[in-house]
């Protein structure tokens, strides 16, 4: 069953609601998939996509316009229930050949998750869910979800533009593109601010912010400075321990010394565990054996051009190996997964100490754990979240990627799995990571870095009309060519834009860990002060915000009833 739902006016805050509040629209319709005969798609290069459903009794339903593109997602959803094949006469027409299709469950079906998540979310919160990441359409849809009868009200087309702009503040409505259509272009994120980064935090600045017993006086202040400029290299060894959470910010020097003593004992106890496994024992422990052999192989091919790890028998290699092995004992369930050596290598390089490097690595792995777990759920979640952000930022680019079968952003996999480790030079990674560890200016800042990189590449990808292969190749070849400071500026500017956006979609707020209500800033505040206030608020509140993006895990409706919540309707029936 396909339901479309027409647009409903949002009540005004002063109580002056219009008469359409409970109304229906003739642009709502529903039909059973068993009645579907064919679907006609838009012409290539039309700018946005539309679908026209034709039923078996030759009834042609009003066109569904997808002003943000992505009609494909609806097709993908429908293909779970019906077989669609191109008509030999007209490749724009998809013919329905009804039969059940079984779903294959694999990573490639990532697209299913957003689809499903979108549907679940729309039921709960159609307004924000649609405007959020996987909103594939511009109009949506309360009426049908509430089970109302789609025939009692008609609305003159001229009213529609009003309704749209009124109910979705920030949306621009452009009535010029084609007669009879109103095209909603985007949520207005406002002007992107210029961002200036500062010098790395110096030793003097760091010690000035410490009391006589070694407590950090203002951790938030220090973090903001690190966010804006990173650390000078000499400070990294000390400050990373705080940033990664190995040292509490409020601890005294003495407390930290004691902590290190305890942690040293604990480390060597765990190290002894694998060190003392005899060959005979190892023969009976296949998991340990597998971890060990993989670690040995990977240590030999991690950052071997770096001084710390180059050549044969470099002590750095032994440390890398021993820490990874000990981590297996620390978290035997996770064990060793390829990619972890990439995360450890810079940490060890900076710490130059086995025990400190281990505990900092443990903290870092706490953040990255989900990426490496059995089903790699963390990776799936992040790709979905990234898509949510990218859609708000540039829905046109998202649509383009989808049209090239790249909508699930798989090409960002390596970026996310090992936090850009292989995309930047070793020195740049130190900078990038310390900035990200401040957890400023919002949660999931690394996803905004992805957005910033993708945005920089967008023009080339689209101008040269890169397809699936070329996109992957292009992104792969960006490695070592991205300027870290440029990208940090850009990502920060995007974050400010988003935080200042008064109508930030709920889904985006959730990804960035911002309170929905907190994004409105007083008009009197301007410039840098404003962004700082916003930053603070979001940073301090983000821990309390759950991330339900992929949490939609209810029972999937396996019958032929599919509530497809895509819409966007013809505003002027022709």
């Amino acid at each position: 069953m396909v339901n479309t739902v027409s647009f409903k006016k949002k009540p005004r805050s002063n109580g002056d609601t219009t008469t359409h509040a409970n109304g229906e629209s003739k642009w709502s319709f529903q039909f059973s998939l068993t009645d579907l005969k064919s679907i006609k798609q838009n012409k290539e290069g039309m700018g946005w996509s539309y679908l026209v459903f034709c039923l078996k009794d030759d009834v042609i339903l009003p066109a569904l316009h997808f002003h943000h593109g992505d009609s494909k997602l609806l097709i993908v959803s429908l293909e779970k229930y019906v077989v669609l094949c191109e008509s030999p006469q007209d490749k724009r027409i998809l013919l329905v050949n009804c039969q059940n299709k079984s779903l294959s469950q694999s990573f490639e079906n990532l697209l299913d998750e957003p689809t499903y998540g979108l549907i679940q979310k729309l039921k709960k919160d159609p307004y924000t869910a649609t405007m959020g990441g996987f909103s594939k359409v511009t109009n949506y849809i309360f009426d049908s979800l509430r089970g109302s009868d789609p025939s009692t009200q008609q609305r003159p087309p001229s009213e529609m533009a009003d309704f749209l702009s009124d109910a979705i503040p920030g949306l621009k409505i452009n009535q010029q593109e084609e007669p009879g259509f109103e095209v909603i272009t985007r949520i207005d994120l406002g002007k992107r601010p210029d961002v200036i980064r500062r010098e790395p935090v110096s030793a003097e600045e760091w010690t000035k912010n410490m009391d006589s017993e070694g407590r950090i006086l203002d951790a938030d202040f220090i973090k903001r400075m690190i966010f804006k400029g990173g650390l000078c290299h000499a400070l990294r060894k000390e400050v990373w321990k705080f940033l990664l959470g190995y040292f509490p910010w409020h601890s005294t020097r003495e407390e930290r010394t004691n902590l290190q003593k305890r942690k040293t004992d604990e480390y060597f106890r765990m190290k002894l565990q694998w060190k003392s496994v005899s060959d005979e024992q190892e023969k009976r422990n296949s998991r340990l054996r597998d971890y060990k052999s993989l670690i040995e192989k990977d240590v030999n091919r991690t950052d071997r051009t770096n001084k710390f790890y180059e050549g044969q028998d470099n002590p750095g290699l032994i440390l890398l190996h021993d820490i990874l092995m000990t981590y297996c004992m620390y978290d035997f369930d996770l064990g060793y997964v390829q990619g972890m050596s990439d995360l450890l290598s810079p940490v060890l390089y900076v710490m130059e100490n086995e025990v400190d490097a281990f505990w900092c690595f443990v903290s870092y792995m706490d953040q990255m754990h989900e990426n490496f777990e059995e089903q790699m759920q963390g990776m799936k979640t992040q790709l979905i979240q990234l898509s949510t952000l990218l859609r708000l930022l540039d829905s046109g680019f998202c649509s383009y990627l989808e049209s090239q079968d790249s909508g699930y952003l798989y090409f960002c996999f390596r970026w996310l799995l090992i936090r850009f480790k292989r995309e930047f030079s070793f020195q740049d990674i130190l900078r990038l990571w310390e900035v990200m560890w401040t957890e400023l200016p919002c949660q999931n800042f690394h996803l905004l870095i992805c957005c910033a990189i993708l945005e920089s590449e967008k023009q080339q990808i689209m101008d040269k009309h890169y397809g699936f292969n070329e996109i992957l190749k292009h992104i792969n070849e960006l490695s070592m060519k991205i300027d870290v400071e440029d990208i940090l500026c850009k990502a920060e500017a995007i974050s400010i834009q988003m935080m200042n956006c008064k109508e930030l979609p709920q889904a985006v707020c959730e990804v960035l860990g911002m309170e929905t209500s907190a994004v409105t800033t007083p008009d009197s505040d301007t410039g840098e002060d404003e962004s700082v206030t916003v930053m603070r608020r979001s940073a301090s509140t983000y821990q309390n915000i759950s991330m339900p993006v992929t949490a939609a895990s209810g029972t999937r409706d396996t019958t032929q009833h599919l509530a497809v919540t895509h819409s966007a309707q013809r505003l002027t029936p022709t």
Partner: protein, 209 residues
């Protein structure tokens, strides 16, 4: 003349040399210790088969570790060719070949996939733990070909990819591989098509419209 696109995937244990094999083939270079592959990485190369047939090879490099199978698995069924790679100096990697084979077979419809067994690192002759005969025996039992290669000494690397591509092309010609809807293993792009990126399904049967 139509242009073909074949998707080929390389499978095998960690450090058998999948990435090195691909780099040698596509870039002509050899890096002694490349970073471990995480997830799936992508290479491509054009190949011309003798009668002037252009084939674009889409080559997918995969992570060997089991944990990554939840990702790599989804690429198996969209591949027309599979290089099963083992390290000739590593018996375990040879023993695992049968698992990799079944891993693909369990997901893919067998008729569609052309396998080729690769015994890699053949330059390390003195350390070889698997004899050519033994590897040939395994290949024969699976009904697939076998080639010994070395990315380091650049031995038989081109031959391996050419052999696989030829076998796929022959199978396609003989209709042993049929183009099915929603499957990306093989694409045939006819010159007239204005948008080569567009992949829509071919109708399975004549429709009523």
């Amino acid at each position: 003349m139509a242009r073909h696109m074949f998707r080929i995937i390389l499978l095998g244990d960690s450090t058998v040399g999948k990435s090195s094999l691909l780099r040698r083939y596509t870039e002509g270079s050899f890096i002694p210790a490349p970073c471990p592959t995480v997830g799936v990485e992508f290479y491509s190369k054009m190949m011309e088969l003798p009668p002037g047939i252009k084939v674009k090879l889409q080559l997918w490099d995969t992570a060997g570790q089991e944990r990554f199978r939840c990702i790599t698995r989804s690429f198996y069924r969209n591949a027309v060719g599979v290089l099963l790679v083992f390290d000739m100096t590593n018996r375990k990697s040879f023993e695992h070949i049968i698992e990799w084979y079944h891993e693909v077979a369990s997901i893919q419809i067998m008729e569609k996939v052309i396998f080729l067994l690769i015994g890699h690192k053949s330059d390390l002759k003195s350390d070889c733990k698997i004899s050519t005969e033994e590897a040939e025996g395994l290949a024969a039992s699976l009904g697939i070909g076998f080639i010994e290669t070395s990315a380091k000494s650049n031995t038989n690397v081109d031959l391996a990819f050419e052999t696989l591509t030829n076998t796929i092309y022959e199978a396609l010609k003989n209709k042993e591989i049929d183009l099915q809807e929603g499957w990306d293993g093989v694409k045939v792009i006819h010159k007239r098509t204005c948008n080569p990126q567009k992949k829509r399904r071919k109708p399975q049967e004549k429709c009523q419209c």
